[in-house]
């Protein structure tokens, strides 16, 4: 029995598609992310009315528009706190954040540690193309050193941020990386992320064919290595996960280094709502106050009779 609501009759992936045609460039990695998401929803038998997808601003943040689910297209960098609010208000919903490397790790980066450390049960899917697309070719926090962009004609001098290592350090209880050129792997990882009770982070290497001429499908094709199947990584081992994560970007500097994909870390532990419920039970809190309870509170506020 899953901890989320499920349909009795499974819907087809196409049933989770909206009638809006994607507005992405031909060859964009994000197309297959939408395909993988709808496939995952179908296989998990999620009721469409129970899915809320929250996005920020950027090419990737358009993804929820192309799917038939509830969605909030928020502001640049603010998908995560809005998603947290939705989950706080209605814990029965399956809340998914669709975001990108600029949205999540540049303007919105301040929210990541707090959502992760609280282990709120939601899934963050970051379409990481190492470039800003919608604002036309500026480097992002995950761009490799030396990448050329419209603001970096001599190549960027900034070091790239490591999404996997950061999220692991912040306390995310499910951290994975997948690649949009591998739909099967991607669907499986997204499914597991949704099923995972707690804060799940999936970094999807999702090439931008228009602006990023380095981190392409061709580049990844020969380099991705499944850390679980090929390297035998056990995702319950946090130290090993961190060690692997620290080598995640080695391929930027070493042409022989692989691009690791797979589940780095996965640990089911108490979620934010588990802790809320524990505290509520301990202090006998109520969800809806009765008139008597309100009156007793009003009386308690009054000074004692003298």
């Amino acid at each position: 029995m899953a901890h989320f609501q499920q349909l009795e009759v499974q819907l087809k992936p196409a049933d989770y598609r909206s009638d809006i045609e994607p507005t992405w460039c031909p060859g964009c990695g994000d197309f297959s992310v939408v395909a993988a998401c709808t496939k995952a929803f179908s296989e998990l038998k999620l009721p469409p009315e129970n899915i809320v997808q929250v996005s920020g601003i950027g090419c990737s943040s358009r993804a929820p528009l192309f799917m038939k689910s509830y969605s909030v297209h928020t502001l640049h960098g603010r998908a995560l706190p809005v998603a947290v609010g939705i989950k706080l208000a209605n814990p029965n919903l399956t809340v998914i954040v669709q975001t990108g490397d600029g949205d999540l790790f540049s303007i919105g980066s301040g929210h990541n540690p707090h959502a992760a450390r609280r282990n709120i049960d939601l899934t963050v899917i970051c379409m990481d193309n190492q470039i800003y697309g919608l604002t036309k070719n500026q480097v992002s926090p995950t761009s490799r050193e030396g990448l050329y962009g419209s603001l970096t004609p001599y190549g960027t001098i900034d070091k790239p941020l490591n999404p996997i290592a950061t999220m692991l350090a912040y306390g995310a209880t499910f951290v994975a990386q997948t690649y949009s050129g591998n739909p099967k792997h991607m669907t499986e990882v997204i499914k597991q992320a949704i099923v995972h009770r707690g804060f799940s982070f999936v970094n999807v290497l999702s090439p931008c064919p228009t602006f990023n001429r380095v981190d392409t499908f061709k580049y990844y094709k020969s380099r991705t290595k499944d850390i679980n199947k090929e390297l035998g990584h056990d995702p319950t081992d946090y130290s090993k996960a961190l060690e692997l994560a620290f080598h995640d970007l080695d391929h930027y500097y070493d042409p022989n280094a692989p691009v690791p994909i797979g589940i780095f870390f996965k640990k089911e532990t108490e979620t934010y709502h588990d802790r809320v419920n524990a505290v509520k039970a301990r202090y006998k809190a109520v969800d809806k106050p009765t008139p008597e309870l309100i009156q007793s509170f009003v009386d308690a506020c009054k000074p004692k009779a003298i």
Binding site: I57, P81, V84, G85, Y283, L293
Partner: protein, 537 residues
């Protein structure tokens, strides 16, 4: 009578003031307490001025009748507050002639002095020791405090005879507590805030009472997360209020605009303090009026409400909750440190008033932003079968899908304008949007707003001047204000702002005035001070 109590920050000065106020209120007096404290925890100087009377009062005087100085610094600092006949009560170690000596330190060594201060003052005022017992009993370390209180009481003579009036006027409360209770009675489910003086006490108050009130108080990582979470909470169908001061509100403005565009109901409590920037964090100001009116990019309907008293704060917070959900808009409740943290004597009649918003009737296909005559589109929340609610910060069509064509942009802007018109018509017609005094036969009228109401209305009553005070700044009750001043010769605008913000709002609405009185030192107007200025007019 005005009593000033001064001493080191952390020495229990605020607490002593609150306890004394509670004792006096329990004896049937109306008490008002001004609390002055610096932005630090230990080592600075705190003081409280309490004024009490048989009449209802909402202000204090600068020149006081009794000064209680628990340390030498208080003597130096508060000499300006003394009059010819002021009674000084000073610590026995302080060398001061003509002062009553009290053993504040002696009876309470290495301890907060609140119970010793209370004992001394009650005795001097000729109030029986039993009156203080209920408030002392509520302190932690009850026995120790009770002993200190009794010793202090015995140490000084009785110089006044303050009688018990038997009938209580109300209890001691603050504007912030009343904002909190008003929101709760307006159906609050969540209060989300990042600590910021002077709004923090709403967060503390509600967090302490989550259990009794059935609400949830959330403290996210910053103010941007506060308002973003609130958007998520309201989208999912729960009633939410957020609270902050000017700096935090500045961080929220981008998302304020999102709540306007996406039509998300939000109540924002903005407790002003002296700015700009970090400013004078623990002091008062009315300098965010224009900011609250114009915050956020683009054009969208909003309501801005300015309570002047705790009773109004309660009622208007409750109303704000219902307005936000009825019209699906951000409602800004603008207060300040003076309203939020001063002690008032209030008789609050609580009543739960929760009006349900217009919901989708499930008859036709659901469209989140469906076009209606009044501009209000029915709501549906995530989890509702048969409806797909797409909400967006982009301009959108009825279904909530991004659009850019000229026709569709115009259509949705016009829908929001229709809503704006509905709000204006309905609120100005159905709600009390302006307070106009019944007194005031003279041909001078004072126009003021927010917490400056207390002192202005008290002085105006004494001097028989008319007072006009808008409770709603947006929509602004221009017609009513114009009617009220039609037969007035001279109009004076009184506010705590350096540049004059209310006068700009008046000018925008075509209301002429003759003189402005502005105070901008972080302190509210004092009664004697305002009276002196007005008498010169």
């Amino acid at each position: 009578m005005n009593i000033l109590i001064g001493g080191k920050a952390g020495a229990g000065i605020k607490e002593a003031g609150k306890m004394l106020a509670q004792v006096l209120a329990s004896m049937g007096y109306s008490v008002f307490g001004y609390v002055d404290y610096p932005s630090l925890i230990r080592g600075g100087h705190n003081f409280v001025i309490l004024r009490f009377s048989e009449k209802d009062i909402y202000s204090v005087d600068r020149k006081v009748d009794i000064i209680v100085a628990t340390d030498r610094r208080s003597v130096n600092l508060h000499t300006v507050s003394s009059k010819e006949n002021t009674l000084w009560i000073v610590d026995e170690k302080i060398d001061m002639s003509n002062a009553l000596k009290a053993p504040f330190k002696e009876v309470a060594p290495a301890f907060f002095k609140s119970s010793s201060i209370l004992g001394v003052i009650l005795k001097v005022l000729g109030i029986s020791p039993e009156k203080g017992i209920p408030v002392v009993e509520r302190l932690p370390q009850r026995d120790r405090n009770f002993f200190i209180y009794t010793e202090a009481y015995k140490s000084v003579p009785s110089l006044f005879k303050i009688e018990d009036k038997k009938i209580k006027k109300g209890i001691i409360t603050t504007g912030n507590e009343c904002i909190a209770l008003g929101a709760v009675d307006g159906g609050l489910d969540f209060y989300v805030a990042y600590p910021m003086t002077p709004a923090t006490s709403v967060l503390h108050y509600l967090a302490e009472r989550q259990k009794e009130l059935g609400i949830k108080a959330v403290h996210p990582e910053n103010e941007i997360a506060v308002i973003s979470m609130a958007v998520g909470i309201a989208y999912a169908g729960k009633r939410v209020m957020i609270g902050t001061s000017g700096g935090g509100f500045a961080l929220m403005t981008e998302t304020l605009s999102l709540s306007g565009m996406a039509e998300i109901p939000l109540v924002i409590y903005e407790a002003q303090r002296a700015g700009p920037s970090t400013g004078v964090p623990t002091y008062t100001s009315q300098s965010d009026l224009l900011f609250s009116l114009f915050a956020g990019h683009g054009e969208f309907p909003r309501v801005v409400i300015a309570p002047g008293y705790p009773q109004e704060a309660y009622y208007l917070a409750r109303l704000a909750m219902n307005i936000a959900w009825k019209y699906q808009i951000p409602v800004i409740l603008i207060g300040d440190k003076h309203l939020g943290e001063s002690y008032f004597t209030v008789n609050l009649n609580r009543e739960r008033v929760v009006e349900n918003p217009i919901m989708w009737d499930k008859k036709e296909e659901y469209k989140r932003y469906c076009f209606t005559e009044n501009g209000i589109s029915p709501l549906a929340f995530p989890g509702t079968p048969g409806a797909v609610v797409k909400v967006t910060s982009y301009e959108h069509n009825e279904k909530g899908l991004t659009v850019e064509s000229a026709e569709s942009v115009l259509l949705m802007q016009d829908k929001r304008l229709r809503k704006l018109r509905t709000i204006k018509e309905q609120l100005l017609k159905n709600e009390k949007t302006v307070m106009i005094s019944e007194y005031g036969k003279s041909d001078i009228a004072l126009i003021t707003w927010g917490s400056t109401a207390g002192v202005v209305e008290e002085v105006a009553k004494e001097m028989d001047l008319k007072v006009i005070r808008p409770l709603f700044i947006e929509p602004f009750p221009a017609q009513e204000v114009k009617r009220a001043i039609a037969d007035v010769r001279r109009i004076v605008v009184v506010e705590c702002s350096a540049s004059g913000q209310l006068d700009k709002v008046l000018s925008m609405n075509g209301i002429k005035f003759h003189k402005t009185l502005r105070k901008y030192d972080g302190r509210p107007f004092f009664r004697d001070e305002l009276k002196r200025i007005l008498e010169k007019l």
